[in-house]
């Protein structure tokens, strides 16, 4: 197994799919010589030329729609939005067009479109360049939402997303781009819609996404020293949401914590907790279910404020201790 970075894994997935399938192309701002704001597509222009690494003017609203139109015609566009925060401009094409065209036309059309966008805080880029947008389009049927957490699943999920016949919002995390991880030489896929048990444990189930998976793993190490055994389930796909694995896990651990970077209110945690509350796993609970989400604030610029705005390793540790301890409403 090789070690490559998350960024390289994403690039590899794109390169391999583009070699294999002429219909796949990448479009977005500054993805050519510049390699994109985070260097994800660095070098690809050379191999694929300016029509398959198609640089766009700053016109996110329309070029997302261009992706939709190309997808309707049988292409498999990958649209890069430089920062996930700018998906506000893509919103209409994503929400009202890509997500609905198939349904509205009675199944006449497929929209094999991938929208890739880096999200998340930690780079000091402040409120408009740091949001975790996982939950923004969670309420929109017709799209899929994928959040890879390491190089292995990033590559495997992106290939699955490109091969998927539905619009897929593929949310990368800026802080993960340079993280390394093992990856097979051979071609492989990580299927959409399948959460991953990152680590088994007995006392509590922590559901995570993206960067929070790393932080939960670190927290779990510490907690195990204290005798608290943690099971970590990395969602990978947020939509469609598959909670079977979580239910099974909760039946074993009897406790649930959902950790996510996005703002607490209206974030993904509510949905997961509600699903468990509605399932028979509910009967197995030994403790109330809890969430640890980002604070309900725009992401601030100052480093310490920024850290305080989203869950850190020590916050996870504290929250788990609190849940396991038992006097929740003291």
């Amino acid at each position: 197994m090789r070690e490559i970075t998350y960024k390289e894994a994403i690039r590899e997935a794109m390169i391999e799919k583009m070699r294999e399938d002429e219909k796949v192309f990448l479009m977005g701002e500054d993805i050519g010589v510049y390699g994109g704001a985070f260097g994800v597509s660095m070098g690809m222009l050379k191999e694929f030329g300016p029509w398959r690494i198609l640089e766009t003017p700053m016109s996110e609203a329309a070029f997302t729609g261009v992706g939709v139109g190309a997808a309707i015609m049988g292409m498999r566009p990958i649209v890069e939005i430089m920062f996930a925060d700018f998906l506000t401009f893509s919103a209409d094409q994503l929400v009202n067009q890509a997500a609905k065209l198939r349904y509205m036309t009675g199944g006449q059309v497929k929209i094999p479109l991938v929208i890739r966008a880096p999200q998340g805080s930690g780079t000091g880029a402040a409120a408009q360049h740091s949001q975790n947008v996982e939950a923004w389009f969670f309420n929109i049927p017709g799209i899929k939402i994928v959040v890879p957490s390491n190089p292995y699943n990033a590559k495997g999920l992106l290939k699955s997303a490109i091969e998927d016949d539905n619009p897929v919002l593929f949310l990368e995390h800026k802080l993960l781009y340079n993280k390394k991880g093992k990856i097979p030489e051979d071609d492989y896929r990580v299927p959409l819609g399948q959460p991953h048990i990152e680590k088994e444990g007995d006392d509590i189930t922590i559901v995570t996404t993206s960067i929070m998976t790393y932080r939960a793993i670190e927290a779990a190490k510490k907690l195990e020293e204290e005798g608290i055994s943690v099971e970590i389930i990395d969602l990978l796909t947020i939509k469609p949401l598959n909670t079977e694995i979580i239910e099974k896990s909760v039946k074993k651990t009897h406790r649930l914590l959902v950790v996510y970077e996005g703002c607490l209110t209206g974030g993904i945690g509510g949905e997961i907790i509600a699903k468990i509350a509605e399932s028979n796993a509910f009967l197995y609970l030994d403790a109330p279910m809890f969430r640890l989400g980002g604070k309900d604030v725009p992401i601030p610029y100052n480093k310490n404020l920024e850290r305080a705005a989203v869950p850190q390793i020590e916050d996870i540790i504290k929250k788990v201790r609190f849940i396991v301890k038992g006097d929740w409403y003291a």
Partner: protein, 323 residues
């Protein structure tokens, strides 16, 4: 030059659209329609002239006021009426209704209810054609109101810089809902907006089906030969209200009457009669033929079954399990 047969075919298509719209309105009045509709009565010359000017293998994108586009492109009237009545036999199995009629087989990539949103989709389709080295073109219909949406400008810019095979055809019917184009477009013509991108911008009489035909023909040639897009503004008028709930408070009867004198069907028929291409009785026969087609299609639609409410979840995802 258009042959006599072609001209008659154009006239017949216009009649067909007119008859469809009038029938649609009647069905609506009879309370058979749950929803809204946007009729294109008065504007028939544009879809007919434009779609006759392109090949059947070329693509179009449509709008909320899209019945005429679909009919001109060869749409199946049965499926159209059935969709309008929300039937399972409709184009969209009753999911879409009047505003979302599409026929990908006929290369009508569909209508969107979000004004302006179809424009970048058309640009994307044109991009795909260019990437695939196809020689087809995309004809994008949109209204004067849509020409104020940011995506219109963004798309026109992209189509220009990439020299895409696309025709931007603005159906300027003088109003966006109740808003007169003069209030919100500060230049004399919407086609003036082409100058921002250095491409041809042409304003024509949208009541004149031949003018539409010729202008779109030239634009299609330009597009097909790799020279890029053209912005065409066809000036026309909507004889009916904007949608079901329109009280026409924003315009005068006189204005409507003035425009009705330019009715694209009667003026074209008169022209054809003048040059001896059409006799009054032929015209009457044509109308009767059209009415018969409409009646048959409506009957099909009325007799068709409703979709089963249990299938409401069908068609959300392309990879859903068959149910």
């Amino acid at each position: 030059m258009l042959t006599r047969d072609e001209k008659l075919a154009m006239l017949e298509k216009m009649l067909l659209i007119r008859a469809f719209e009038e029938k649609a309105e009647k069905l609506f009045m009879r309370n058979l329609v749950h929803g809204t509709m946007h009729l294109s009565v008065g504007e028939e010359a544009i879809p007919v002239g434009a779609i006759f000017a392109i090949k059947s293998t070329d693509y179009i994108t449509s709008t909320h006021r899209g019945h005429g586009h679909m009919i001109a492109k060869g749409g199946d009237l049965k499926k159209m009426f059935a969709e309008f009545l929300g039937k399972d036999t409709g184009y969209c199995h009753g999911r879409g209704g009047s505003m979302h009629i599409a026929d990908f087989g006929l290369r009508n990539l569909g209508a969107t209810g979000i004004v302006g949103a179809g424009i970048p989709i058309a640009t994307g389709a044109a991009l795909a054609l260019k990437m695939q080295n196809k020689s087809d073109v995309v004809l994008a219909f949109f209204g004067d109101g849509a020409a104020n949406e940011g995506v219109f400008f963004e798309s026109l810019n992209m189509a220009t810089i990439w020299k895409l095979p696309e025709i931007f055809l603005c159906e300027n019917n003088q109003y966006a809902m109740s808003s007169p184009v003069k209030r919100f477009v500060p230049t004399p013509n919407i086609s003036d907006r082409a100058s921002a991108f250095g491409i041809p911008g042409i304003s024509i009489d949208g009541m004149d089906v031949i003018a539409v035909y010729e202008t779109v023909k030239a634009a299609a040639e330009r597009a097909r030969s790799g020279k890029g897009p053209t912005l065409i503004e066809a000036k026309t008028y909507r004889f009916k209200g904007h949608s079901k709930s329109d009280k026409n408070l924003y315009r005068t009867k006189e204005e409507i009457e003035e425009w009705k004198k330019k009715d694209p069907i009667t003026t074209f028929a008169a022209r054809l009669m003048e040059i001896g291409d059409l006799q009054q009785n032929e015209f009457e026969n044509m109308k009767e033929k059209v009415n018969a087609i409409i009646e048959e299609a409506v009957k099909f639609a009325i007799d068709s079954p409703e979709p089963d409410p249990k299938t409401v979840e069908k068609f959300v995802y392309a990879d859903e399990k068959e149910n």
